[in-house]
């Protein structure tokens, strides 16, 4: 991966940073959008849940108001008795109320009570009158007040209920307030939260309130507050146990995922609590609970209904939606950024590759052209100096010939260098192509020796060729093979002192042909060995300055031999000489 990145880097370094930046920008933008969408979905979900909850709470509120209205109507119905009958006694009361079956049909509604107004100046007469039916009747609590509103009728009339008769609710402030309210408005009124005492059906005290409904004398005008006050004869009232009331109303709608609280007033304090679902304590332990409240106006009282719900109000699919958006968004972001980066890098690689190819081609044509242009004048020199040396313009003296030879050799070196540059460039770009054909090895060797005849004779050196057998043929590119042998012979001569011998030996073993060129020259030290075939490396020895060279000859030889599926090796002893062995398959 790192190698790949390096390669990519090499091909497109300036752009790589740009591409990564671009891809990162796209990634960030896309992630941003994903988060925004996720957040939106979350908010939307929250809103939907809240709306649903509010709807539920409002619905519950309406139900409560309606129910209380119904209970008030029940009391109103009872009040109607006083319009219908000249007097209403306990028996009539019992008949009427028991028929209502409040126990079963009006959950939470307690005994229905009638209290009648007794001004202070009528008190004694009233008590005396009552005692004719009920010995021992008294108005409780004792004490003198401006007006008394003792209970006269109650149904059910059993057990402790009977004891309520004579009890004056008007002296209790909460009840008084509600009673005054009912009297003045002519409509129902409820007390604030009270604790209702246990009775035979309810062993425990529980919170609740009392509904009062006013009863007026028949045919009295009731248009103004004062008229109503003057016409008031009593109240029909009943306690309501709020837990039973609300349970009966909402109980079936409450599941383990929801809860309701009802508070008397607008302050959600524990002492104002008149109802709480049993599911609330569990619900409160869960995360993600939301609540919403609704205010109920009952009479002149206000209650606060608080609904609670957990996240399950939304279906699992709805709840998962935001998270799915987020995951999908993140995946998509990475995919798109990754894809973009991939496309850009591929394109860059492709372009760089194309460019590289163009550059290589341009380089190649340039090199070919340049070498051609450089060869042309050098060829001219070669011909004319050659002609002079060979006597085409007349005899030349020994001294003249010597000088001409020096010029010729110089020129040859130039041609050699041009060749090497051309071949090295081609070898490096992999464009060195061999044209193999059957080559008569010994003729080729002969030709190479002839080419160097002059300079070898000058150095008073000898070349001895030993052949394995006559007529050795090898499948090779004659031009390049010549170049290799030319280079080896040239080196052998250059790096040997005068009056030494160079041996060229050919051998065949099996399918492999070897050509060994050995000299008795300066040799190569062990430490110089590794650098021998490297490009541009020239070894320093006593003859290297005199010899000159480009340092690419042996490098090229190795390239050429490798292309021939062969090899080139060397054995050498410093100060004694070297043997370069070239081997290649005969076919």
């Amino acid at each position: 991966m790192r190698k790949k990145l390096k390669l990519i880097g090499n091909l497109a370094t300036p752009s790589l940073k740009t591409y990564i930046t671009a891809a990162t920008v796209v990634l960030l933008a896309s992630l941003l959008v994903s988060f925004w969408t996720w957040n939106n979905a979350r908010t939307s979900l929250k809103r939907d849940i809240a709306t649903t909850l509010q709807g539920g709470t409002d619905g519950a509120r309406d139900m409560v108001i309606s129910k209380i209205g119904t209970y008030a109507e029940v009391l109103n119905g009872a009040a109607g008795l006083f319009k219908a009958l000249p007097t209403v006694n306990q028996q009539a009361w019992t008949n009427y109320v028991s028929h209502l079956n409040i126990q079963n049909r009006y959950p939470g509604l307690q005994a229905i009570v009638y209290s009648e107004v007794v001004p202070d100046n009528e008190r004694d007469a009233y008590i005396a009158g009552r005692q004719t039916d009920r010995p021992g009747f008294s108005i409780r609590p004792e004490g003198q007040r401006d007006v008394y509103v003792p209970v006269r009728l109650i149904e059910p009339n059993v057990g402790e209920n009977a004891q309520v008769i004579g009890f004056d609710p008007y002296q209790e402030p909460a009840r008084k307030k509600a009673m005054d309210q009912a009297r003045d408005t002519g409509a129902l009124s409820i007390t604030s939260r009270l604790v209702l005492v246990p009775d035979q059906n309810n062993p425990k005290a529980s919170p609740g309130f009392i509904i009062f409904v006013p009863v007026y004398s028949n045919n009295a005008p009731l248009d103004t507050v004062n008229e109503r006050r003057a016409a008031l004869i009593g109240f029909v009232s009943a306690g309501v146990r709020s837990y039973e009331l609300i349970d009966g109303l909402l109980g079936s709608a409450i599941t383990e995922n929801s809860a309701v609280q009802v508070f008397d007033g607008t302050n959600q304090d524990a002492k104002n609590l008149i109802y709480e679902s049993p599911t609330l304590s569990n619900l409160r332990k869960q995360p993600g609970i939301i609540s919403s409240s609704s205010v109920i106006t009952v009479g002149s009282n206000r209650w606060t209904l608080v609904g609670y719900v957990n996240q399950s109000i939304a279906s699992k699919a709805q709840r998962n939606q935001p998270r799915l958006f987020l995951i999908a968004g993140i995946l998509f972001s990475f995919m798109i950024a990754g894809g973009l980066l991939f496309v850009m890098i591929t394109r860059a690689r492709h372009i760089a590759h194309e460019k590289n190819r163009e550059v290589q081609e341009a380089k190649d044509s340039l090199i070919s052209l340049a070498s051609h242009q450089l060869r042309t004048p050098a060829t001219g020199v070669k011909q004319f100096i050659g002609m002079l040396m060979d006597g085409y313009a007349g005899d030349v003296s020994k001294e003249q010939k010597r000088m001409l030879q020096k010029a010729y050799q110089s020129n040859e070196r130039q041609l050699e260098i041009i060749n090497q540059i051309l071949h090295v460039t081609r070898a490096d770009s992999g464009r060195l192509v061999l044209r193999k054909e059957p080559v008569d090895l010994h003729s080729l060797i002969r030709r190479v020796i002839d080419e160097h005849a002059g300079s070898i004779k000058d150095r008073q050196q000898r070349v001895i060729v030993s052949k394995a057998r006559a007529g050795l043929s090898v499948q090779a590119d004659p031009q390049y093979l010549t170049m290799v042998l030319d280079n080896l012979l040239s080196n052998a001569s250059k790096y040997s002192h005068p009056r030494t011998t160079i041996r060229i030996t050919t051998k065949q073993s099996g399918d492999t042909i070897t050509i060994a060129v050995s000299d008795a020259g300066v040799g190569i030290s062990d430490e110089d060995m590794p650098r021998l075939f490297q490009k541009f490396s020239r070894i320093d020895n006593e003859l290297s300055i005199e010899a000159g060279g480009t340092g690419i000859g042996l490098y090229l030889c190795e390239q050429v031999m490798t292309l021939h599926d062969g090899s080139i090796t060397v054995k050498s002893t410093e100060g004694e000489g070297s043997t370069f062995t070239v081997s290649l398959p005969s076919k």
Binding site: S368, T376, F384
Partner: protein, 129 residues
């Protein structure tokens, strides 16, 4: 004695080859581009053509194209004699009927003489580098 056509745009080289080959006794015609070469062939059919590849007006390959079909010149040999060793051009020349290739820069006067003599001795369809 054989007749040789030298097709080479570089005047000094053209002159050099002429001197060298005349000394051997061959009769020589000279052309400095493909157009002149075609003219020269019309006048005297050569036994051997020394053909340079890169020339103005009409290069070596164009010349060969215009010369075709070479069946008309059964005995004629063509040595592509160039300093330009781009493989494609050389292959193209061979496809069009050239029989030999030699790098100019490689050939000393002696070499040139040897190669010409060798080539003239051959029958068509053999190749030597």
């Amino acid at each position: 004695m054989a007749h040789i056509l030298i097709v080479e745009d570089e005047t000094s080289l053209n002159e050099a080859y002429t001197i060298i080959l005349k000394k051997e006794g061959y009769s020589i015609s000279n052309a400095f581009n493909g157009v002149q070469a075609l003219e020269a062939i019309k006048q005297t059919e050569p036994d051997l053509i020394l053909l340079d590849l890169r020339m103005p007006q009409m290069d070596g390959v164009e010349f060969l194209r215009n010369l075709a079909p070479l069946e008309n010149y059964p005995a004629m040999k063509i040595i592509v004699f160039s300093n330009y060793d781009v493989q494609q051009d050389i292959d193209e020349a061979f496809k069009l009927g050239a029989t030999h290739y030699m790098l100019k820069a490689w050939a000393s006067p002696r070499e040139l003489v040897k190669v010409v003599a060798q080539t003239l001795k051959e029958t068509r369809k053999t190749r030597v580098s």
